[in-house]
Symmetry: D2
Subunit: 305 residues, 4 copies
Amino acid sequence: MDELLERLIESNRHYTTAGKLANYIPELAKANQNELGIYVVSSDGRTSFAGDCQKNFTIQSIIKPILLLLALMDNGEEMVRSHVGVEATGKPFDAINYTDQTLLSEHLNPMVNMGAILLCTLIKGQSYSEKFERLLELTRTLAGNPDITVNEAVYQSEKRTGSRNRALAFLLKSQGLLSDDVEEVLDCYFRGCSIQVNCKDLANIGFTFANRGRRPVSEERVFSARFAHYVNAVLMTCGMYDGAGDFAVRVGLPAKSGVGGGIMAISPTRMGIGIYSPGLDQKGNSLAGIHVLEDLSHTLYLSVF
Amino acid sequence: MDELLERLIESNRHYTTAGKLANYIPELAKANQNELGIYVVSSDGRTSFAGDCQKNFTIQSIIKPILLLLALMDNGEEMVRSHVGVEATGKPFDAINYTDQTLLSEHLNPMVNMGAILLCTLIKGQSYSEKFERLLELTRTLAGNPDITVNEAVYQSEKRTGSRNRALAFLLKSQGLLSDDVEEVLDCYFRGCSIQVNCKDLANIGFTFANRGRRPVSEERVFSARFAHYVNAVLMTCGMYDGAGDFAVRVGLPAKSGVGGGIMAISPTRMGIGIYSPGLDQKGNSLAGIHVLEDLSHTLYLSVF
Amino acid sequence: MDELLERLIESNRHYTTAGKLANYIPELAKANQNELGIYVVSSDGRTSFAGDCQKNFTIQSIIKPILLLLALMDNGEEMVRSHVGVEATGKPFDAINYTDQTLLSEHLNPMVNMGAILLCTLIKGQSYSEKFERLLELTRTLAGNPDITVNEAVYQSEKRTGSRNRALAFLLKSQGLLSDDVEEVLDCYFRGCSIQVNCKDLANIGFTFANRGRRPVSEERVFSARFAHYVNAVLMTCGMYDGAGDFAVRVGLPAKSGVGGGIMAISPTRMGIGIYSPGLDQKGNSLAGIHVLEDLSHTLYLSVF
Amino acid sequence: MDELLERLIESNRHYTTAGKLANYIPELAKANQNELGIYVVSSDGRTSFAGDCQKNFTIQSIIKPILLLLALMDNGEEMVRSHVGVEATGKPFDAINYTDQTLLSEHLNPMVNMGAILLCTLIKGQSYSEKFERLLELTRTLAGNPDITVNEAVYQSEKRTGSRNRALAFLLKSQGLLSDDVEEVLDCYFRGCSIQVNCKDLANIGFTFANRGRRPVSEERVFSARFAHYVNAVLMTCGMYDGAGDFAVRVGLPAKSGVGGGIMAISPTRMGIGIYSPGLDQKGNSLAGIHVLEDLSHTLYLSVF
């Protein structure tokens, strides 16, 4: 297996330079575009890896499935659904005029920013710093890595430049969907996106979703199987931005990407996979990473379809 | 298994009256709303059924995965992808003005009407009646039922009232995506939607997709496994109209519904499922049918997630 | 005045080559792009002209205000308003999905194709050829030119290539807004767009709107002043496609352009103006024509603002 | 004339209860819905009035034409146009996804909030409080009323509840169209909307636009005629929210409404008109106010068309 991963990394490394680094915050633009790494945790307890799999990077949007999970654990399925919908084709808000269409909960999705920001408000905690601590703690538990922490430079950078997310949060507020202080909510969200992980962490987190809520090896249950079904289903239809349909056809696994260059992929009952390569395609997904996953899926018949 | 199906039919039959019959063509509004039936073909060769599973109804949108399959068999994956995209969030065309945005192939999806109409042009054949004959023949082969035929009354009704589909076809033509005669293309499409099937037919067709291209029992290969992955992936992200996300969370299987009241669901490697109940929910899917599938999926752990 | 027009034509002639000929039908692409002409009919009975003002061209979208006028004359203001709205910002129809927003009368505008096509159905007449004859007759009366006729080559070309208009008409039909035969309605519309005029004709028609319904010199009333207010108001807000706001700021007159290169401008109580130059700007308006009008408006203080 | 106004007020007073008070901020909901007043300043120096014309109310969106004027006076036409467009049909921003369409200056309009907020940044001044002081000073000068001041309660209320405007400002910022501090810019905008005026003030301001930049009686020039043309043209196409087309047909004058219940209408070369009645129609315009203006326009042949 290590050999297979080695081969896939090498045969796809030329894609690393075809992508583009995220540049909306200066910190992300500093990444080394040539890096490509993979880590796999399998249901029989074995782990395999290849390439730059110890590299740290920020989790970015891959925090969204963890946010969704925590919201589900804290509130149950029904209440989360009543606040944030699950359709890819949630109608857009499009009005600049006085009389415009209303933004409804069912137009939101946990995997797009507006929905994820709203999920922060559903996490239990006395304050937003307590909410964030609980999110960080869950991330550490899922990854089995107590050393996971926030990249302060990225966090400060996100906080300084997050105008678009502020716009989305104020839209939620103006529609009566969010009542807390916008800056506090966003602070939790920005910190979440700035959590620093590596391929092994993503593989472990992904495995717990693949294993329907039980951790690798110990088989300790962290969350109910039902929530794994929920998160995995949402990842399949919306985890890869506007490239979700393409990814379903080519790879056939629930997965989430982040503009930091990470992809967490889930092979239900079989594997958790963590990938890193910071060059992004036009839809914001790791370009080389998707190619590696496509080859891996074909080689091991991983597609759920 | 028959007993389980029997129980699911009875416990969900009260949902049949909660839905609404499709009324855009008079023929569909004549259906008996109380009917509910299911047929299951399993990988071990067994078949099970319950309720009104011998009832005939028109296939409607469930012809779309078969159209997609035939287009793939005739042209290969790459060429089909270059004509009809796979994203749920294909940007809408919205312009009534002189200067407006262009409609591109990547905005189309095989499971929405515009994409399905365009797929008709990709089927091999000297004429549109030959193209349609090949589509009908493939449907019969997949279902293992040489008696499948077109419901003439529904076909005439569709043809007479199909203004919206004509609008979509002319939009394709005005954008240079379709060059053939619109009425000929639509005739093929309307005939396809008017093919009459029952639950058993849908279960057999679904099983062939579940079995990655091989028919039940005989294991005869009708199409390559790769095309089954393709069709199943598209069904998962877009098979249930605007309810695809909800269906993925609740049921977790690739499936396609039609406004005739049918649902074809696919449990990869395990089962093909055909359901019929003509009362539709607000998104146009069989309301009682989805409830039966939800219960069946939970009982047998069918979700791919 | 002739001298002034002469000067404006010469100083703006260099703009003729900056525009682009309409090419969606072959006939229009055959125009001579260097041509630029103007004809002015004033309230004191004088006429002035310069440049290529005897050139014939097809009226295209400038038929829309005449269509609107005839619909008003045949049905009155209230009934026309109930079928075709007057807002520029009528919400777009944007759905490719099963469940989509409804297209309402108030989303239509007489100056965009969908609204103009619907206006054809409001013209009185036993048949669509009678309706068209009445439209042609009104055009001749307004222009004071009984020789005005249809350019058959353009008409045939429009009819052959009008997929977009067919799409719009079928959308109207699918929404229940249009019940007549689509091809008959469009035939009337295509013929209307293919009526051949020159600058003098447009100036005379425009003058009748400027003179609130009374013809030049004879002061014979063709229609009520109220209808002139209605048409002129609609032209001000929507007569120049997506360039209406720009034209209001730069020229300040109600006007209508056509992709044939014509512009009809209306200086209420003072003048009717006809302009021709077939090179179009990005919004589909005669590029040199707008420049001539801008200079004329500034020189003679024509802006209504 | 006073008699005519008296009659129009009485015959339309029953419309006051058909509208609805703006309720997005508590202060506005406190208005007395039965009030209806009008004030007219004519080119011959006479003034006329009727009804509740001394009532104070906040200017709200009627500050927009003054903002536009000040931006024009400070920067000239070309520069203002390069930052804020003039089309009613500026395409909407509609994306919730990672890859979305860009918001361009030409999509903005001075009469919708996003454009008006951006205009604040174009006002000259060392600080935003200086910018606001200059806006207030210009308002006083145009109205000839040095006592005009801000309604502090409304201002505080706007500031507290302005989530939608914050969302719009952050969208501008995220698109690189606005670089200043959002709260400072909005503070200027909220103060501007909270300026308190009465019908006489609006009539005087409107008259200055009607008189192409010269004040009533003294004929002192405050701004160039060109800027009056610009502002009046923008008001005609976009001054009445989504009801601009309807207002052009029914009244035929440039005008601006505010959710405080005011309307400022401009009869070029002839009159400035100020109206107040706080009951709003569905588009956010004073319902009784539009009826009074419609009657006045018909009686005195005020329509520019």
